[in-house]
C-alpha cells in the first residue's frame, strides 16, 4: 500500500525543527507501510565544487574511517565524513563523477544512496519508528524533507527496495501505488543506459525520470512524460534541491492531501499524518487534482 509524506518549510527559523516536525508524520503512516521506511532530507549544503554523498553498507560495523582515508588519498582532495548508523554522509571536494568512480574502485560493495549539494537519503528495512530512531531523525535540521513507509507489493522487502529512490543530483522519488508496465519499461531503459539494482517498480519510475532529465527535459516535462509512459497507479512526491513536487496519475485512486500555512507546505497520503503539525487547524487543506503537477521551490540562492 505505502504511505508518503513531505514537508517544505517556508520560514528559515523552523529549519532547526524539521526532523522533530517530520518524525510524527512518518510514524503516522506506519499502518500503510510497516516493511521499510526512508526519507530524503535537504539542508547543510556543500559549496560549489563539492559533492555530498550518502552511502550505506550491509555491515553496520563497516570501516568508514578507513574508506574515507583511502578516498582522500585516491582523489587527492579534502573530504569530510560522518557515520550515521548503517550509513555515512560524505562531503568531498570533487565532482560527482570522480567521487563515484573512486568509490566503484575502492568499495564496490558500498551503495551510493544519493548525491548532490544538499540531499541525504537514509532508508532501510524495519518499522518507521525503528528507522527514525536508527538515524536520529528527530534531531535533524534542514529546509525540506520527503519520506516513505513501504508495504511491498511488486518486489521483495530489501534495503535497496525501500524508498526514496535517487533520480539524479539532489533529486529523489517516493511512490504510493504500483506500476503495471515496469518490466517492459525496465528493458527499454536498460537499452538507454540506465542501470537498476532491484526488480522494484518504483526504481523503474525513478530510472525513467533520470533518463528524461538526461535527455534534456525539465522536471515538469519529465513528469508529463511519466503520465503518458507509466501504466499503473501512482502518487509521486519528488524531492528537488530547492523544494518538492507532487503528481497523481489520471485515475487518482491513490490518495494525497496537501496542507499549507504561512510556515510550511506539507503533503501526506492521509490527513492524520498532518494532524500533529503546528497551525494545522487553520491550514488550507486540499487534495491535488489528478494528472496535475504541483511544485513548491525556493528561488536558488
Amino acid at each position: 500500500m505505502c504511505g508518503i509524506v513531505g514537508l517544505y518549510l517556508k520560514k528559515p527559523e523552523l529549519q532547526a525543527q524539521l526532523g522533530k516536525l517530520f518524525e510524527p508524520m512518518l510514524q503516522a503512516m506506519t499502518d500503510r507501510g510497516p516493511d521499510s521506511a526512508g526519507f530524503a532530507i535537504y539542508g547543510d549544503e556543500v559549496a560549489e565544487g563539492w559533492v555530498k554523498l550518502t552511502l550505506q553498507a550491509a555491515d553496520t560495523n563497516y570501516p568508514w574511517t578507513t574508506l574515507m582515508g583511502q578516498l582522500e588519498g585516491h582523489l587527492g582532495c579534502s573530504l569530510d565524513g560522518v557515520q550515521n548508523a548503517s550509513a555515512a554522509v560524505l562531503k568531498v571536494h570533487t565532482d560527482e563523477a570522480a567521487a563515484r568512480a573512486a568509490l566503484a574502485a575502492l568499495a564496490p560493495d558500498v551503495r551510493i544512496m544519493s548525491a548532490g549539494q544538499s540531499i541525504e537519503i537514509l532508508k532501510g528495512m524495519g518499522l518507521p519508528a525503528e528507522i527514525s530512531s536508527r538515524f536520529g531523525l528527530a534531531g535533524m535540521k534542514g529546509s525540506h524533507i520527503i519520506g516513505h513507509t513501504r508495504m511491498a507489493t511488486e518486489s521483495a522487502v530489501t534495503m535497496e527496495g525501500s524508498h526514496p529512490f535517487s533520480t539524479g543530483a539532489d533529486l529523489c522519488l517516493v511512490h504510493n501505488g504500483s506500476l503495471s508496465n515496469h518490466f517492459r519499461l525496465r528493458q527499454a531503459l536498460k537499452r538507454e543506459g540506465i542501470s537498476f539494482e532491484t526488480d522494484n517498480d518504483t526504481e523503474v519510475a525513478a530510472g525513467y525520470l533520470t533518463w528524461r532529465l538526461q535527455q534534456g527535459d525539465s522536471l515538469a516535462q519529465a513528469l508529463d512524460g511519466a503520465l503518458e509512459d507509466l501504466d499503473g497507479f501512482f502518487t509521486f512526491a519528488i524531492g528537488t534541491r530547492n523544494g518538492f513536487a507532487v503528481i497523481r496519475d489520471p485515475i487518482a485512486c491513490k490518495p494525497a492531501v496537501l496542507a499549507e500555512t504561512e510556515d510550511y507546505v506539507a503533503m501526506a497520503s492521509e490527513y492524520q499524518a498532518l494532524a500533529s503539525l503546528p497551525g494545522i487547524e487553520h491550514a488550507k487543506v486540499w487534495e491535488p487534482a489528478p494528472a496535475t503537477l504541483y511544485v513548491w521551490e525556493r528561488e536558488s540562492a
Partner: protein, 224 residues
C-alpha cells in the same frame, strides 16, 4: 451530552459506546485528528458531532443516526449507509457515499472522485463540485451537485437521477442529459431544501441512464 476525546480515548471505545443499547442521545467527539472509522456501524437514533477532520469511512454503515462532521472527511464517508443523516461541513475525499442504500448525505464543500460510486438508494447533495468518475454504476437514489462535475459522470449508470447546476466536464458511458419535468423539479427542490442549501431547481440540468448498456438485447445473445 456525552463527550469523547480521541486524544485520550480509542476509536474502538467510541464506536462500542455508540453500538447496542445507547442511552445518551447526543454525542460530541473531540480531537478526531483525521482518524479513520469514526462513528461507524451506529444503529440508533442518536446525534453525533465530530469536532474536526475525520479520516476514512466516517459514519460507515450508518443506520438512523445523525452524524455531523465539523471539518473534512477522507475516503468513503457514509459508505453503505442504510438510513439517517450524515452532514460534512467541509469537503469529502473520494468515494463519498459509496454503495449506500438509504438516508441523506450532505457535503457542504466539494467531494472528490467517484462520489456516489455504486449508490443503491442514498440521496447525496453536494454544495460544491464533485470529482471525476462520479456516480459510476449508480443504481438508485438521487445525486445533486450545486457546483461542477468532473470527467465521466454517471459512467455505466443504472437508475440514479443526477442533477447538476454547474458544468459537466464529460459524461460517462451510457449517461445522457434528460428532460427536466415537473416531478423532477419538485424532487430536486425538496432535496435542496432538506439539505439546507439555497439553490433553485430550475437552474439545474438532469442526467440519467440511456438504458442501452445495462439492458440485455436478444440480438446479442450469440455473443455470450
Amino acid at each position: 451530552m456525552k463527550t469523547i476525546d480521541l486524544s485520550s480515548t480509542s476509536v474502538r471505545v467510541l464506536n462500542h459506546s455508540l453500538h447496542g443499547e445507547v442511552q445518551d442521545l447526543e454525542w460530541q467527539v473531540t480531537h478526531p485528528g483525521g482518524k479513520h472509522n469514526l462513528a461507524v456501524g451506529i444503529n440508533a437514533a442518536v446525534a453525533v458531532d465530530i469536532e474536526g477532520h475525520a479520516g476514512y469511512y466516517c459514519a460507515g454503515m450508518n443506520q438512523q443516526a445523525s452524524v455531523t462532521v465539523h471539518g473534512n472527511v477522507g475516503v468513503g464517508v457514509a459508505e453503505n449507509m442504510m438510513s439517517g443523516l450524515v452532514r460534512v461541513k467541509g469537503s469529502a475525499s473520494q468515494a463519498a457515499g459509496a454503495t449506500a442504500h438509504g438516508g441523506l448525505l450532505v457535503i457542504e464543500g466539494d467531494a472528490g472522485a467517484r462520489c456516489g460510486i455504486s449508490m443503491k438508494g442514498v440521496d447525496i447533495v453536494v454544495g460544491g463540485s464533485i470529482g471525476h468518475m462520479s456516480c459510476f454504476m449508480g443504481q438508485a437514489g438521487r445525486l445533486v451537485v450545486c457546483g461542477d462535475a468532473g470527467d465521466a459522470l454517471g459512467d455505466s449508470l443504472y437508475e440514479v437521477r443526477i442533477y447538476v447546476k454547474g458544468s459537466v466536464q464529460s459524461l460517462g458511458s451510457d449517461c445522457i442529459e434528460k428532460e427536466m419535468r415537473a416531478e423532477h423539479l419538485q424532487e430536486l427542490q425538496e432535496l435542496l431544501d432538506k439539505a439546507g442549501l439555497d439553490h433553485k431547481a430550475a437552474d439545474f440540468k438532469r442526467y440519467g441512464s440511456a438504458r442501452q448498456l445495462y439492458n440485455f438485447k436478444v440480438d446479442n445473445a450469440s455473443a455470450y
